[in-house]
């Protein structure tokens, strides 16, 4: 399973997005606001999710903000840290 596919699955499971299917989350859909509709509380959960499921730490908002834009940016951030 690719990082993007795993991200979509754990986002739905861990954020309880029961009304969303993995196929409905496009790689370039905005995670916050318009798009997937996540909010600031989800941002905190996302930091935990990325560390728990991928072993990658988002240390501060300086590196978190650009990473947490879309599935693509977050997957790239994870893949870069794991490389």
């Amino acid at each position: 399973m690719s990082v993007k596919e795993k991200l979509k699955r754990v986002l739905i499971e861990d954020l309880n997005l029961e009304d969303v299917e993995p196929d409905e989350i496009t790689d370039d859909m905005a995670l916050f606001g318009e798009g997937l509709g996540l909010d600031s509380l989800d941002a905190v959960e996302l930091v935990v999710i990325v560390q728990k499921h991928f072993g990658v730490e988002i240390k501060d908002m300086e590196e978190g903000r650009p990473a947490l834009q879309t599935i693509s940016t977050l997957a790239k951030f994870i893949e870069d840290r794991l490389a």
Partner: protein, 355 residues
């Protein structure tokens, strides 16, 4: 001060809403669901009265519920149904207080949070689990959802939680701090609870529940939420009035009951608690409804709802030991009912109701 019951909302092993409770009472017994836990040595099956909360989405959008755990969902559903029953869903609730009674609190969320802490360390502990594990979270969800801006309180005193919390509700109404109290009794099942009960009650929890046989352990775990809308009794009660709430310990000061006082007892198949009923209730007409909703500390809230329903219906619904081929016994308008709950150490809560 007397309190009037204006609305009832429930969810439990019998279903959702007051009509589901009435149907279950007419049958006298509800079959518990079969729960399965996977262990390394194979699956374990056992009975439990689990609550379904799917009606909640009729009141609150699904997306708004995604951070809310099962405990708070049961709480919100009970509150929604009680407000609907009292025709207060659209009312101004700025002077509505919220009092929650629970023996255990949000068990599953609390243990999930602890597990995440133990398994992954503090930096990977879910902030959502943490916020839901805070003991007043469910009451806060109710207050925020319904804009009930008067005081909000959660009371935990194990089996005495309901009687103890009712005293707070009564005090708020007597002081004029609130005009209504949304009063809820909630407990939830969790796998950890099942494990603990297995350790404490080695005789097992396979049922069937036989609440009036005080010589055997027959309890089956349950969960659910039972809500009442309470006002001062200067308003006509839609169901019944709570006349008196008493808390005490039978060993310290023996409980004296009015002769022939008709009682709904909180006996739920726990032998350790049953001995107190056996010693006291020889000459009293008693019924017990644990075979409808199972065993959990806040089940007293369901006994209270049953008493209020029976006083309004003027019918005594027979319990699981009764002869259900006969129609329910009629209750006279002057009839009184009391709910009595004993804890294992002789603590008791007695709640007296009349029309």
């Amino acid at each position: 001060m007397r309190m009037a019951i204006q609305g009832i909302g429930l969810c439990g092993g019998f279903g959702q809403g007051i009509e589901a409770l009435r149907t279950a009472l007419q049958a006298g017994r509800v079959e518990p669901q079969e729960v399965c836990i996977e262990h390394q040595g194979g699956p374990e099956h056992f009975p439990a009265y689990r609550a379904v909360v799917d009606q909640l989405t009729e009141f609150i959008p699904k997306r708004a519920l995604r951070r809310i755990d099962h405990f708070s969902k049961m709480t919100l559903l009970g509150a929604c149904l009680a407000l609907k029953d009292a025709d207060l869903l659209e009312a101004d609730r700025s002077r509505t207080g919220v009092v929650i009674a629970t023996g255990y609190g949000a068990l599953k969320t609390t243990f999930d949070f602890l597990d995440s802490y133990l398994d992954f360390g503090y930096s990977c502990s879910s902030p959502t689990h943490f916020s839901n594990s805070v003991h007043n979270a469910a009451a806060a969800h109710v207050s925020m959802q319904f804009k009930a801006t008067a005081p909000s309180l959660t009371v935990t005193q194990f089996e005495m939680s309901v009687a103890s919390a009712l005293l707070s509700a009564q005090q708020w109404l007597a002081e004029g701090r609130v005009d209504q109290v949304l009063f809820g009794a909630i407990d939830e099942y969790s796998e950890v609870l099942h494990y603990c009960r297995q350790q404490f009650f080695a005789e097992g929890e396979q049922g069937p529940v036989q609440p009036l046989d005080f010589t055997i352990q027959s309890a089956v775990v349950g969960e659910g939420a039972s809500f009442l809308v309470l006002t001062r009794a200067d308003q006509t009660a839609a169901y019944a009035c709570i006349d008196k709430v008493r808390l005490g310990n039978h060993q310290v000061r023996p409980l004296e009951l009015v002769p022939d006082e008709r009682l709904i007892i909180g006996a739920d198949g726990h032998k350790e608690c049953g001995r107190w009923y056996a010693s006291l209730l020889k000459d009293h007409p008693v019924t017990a409804y644990a075979a409808v909703y199972g065993s959990f500390p806040a089940a007293v809230g369901f006994d209270l709802a049953v008493a209020a329903l029976m006083l309004r219906d003027r019918k005594l619904y027979l319990d699981s030991e009764g002869d259900h081929s006969s129609p329910p016994v009629d209750l006279s308008p002057a009839e009184k009912l009391s709910c009595l709950k004993f804890g294992p150490g002789g603590d008791y809560g007695l709640i007296q109701l009349s029309t």
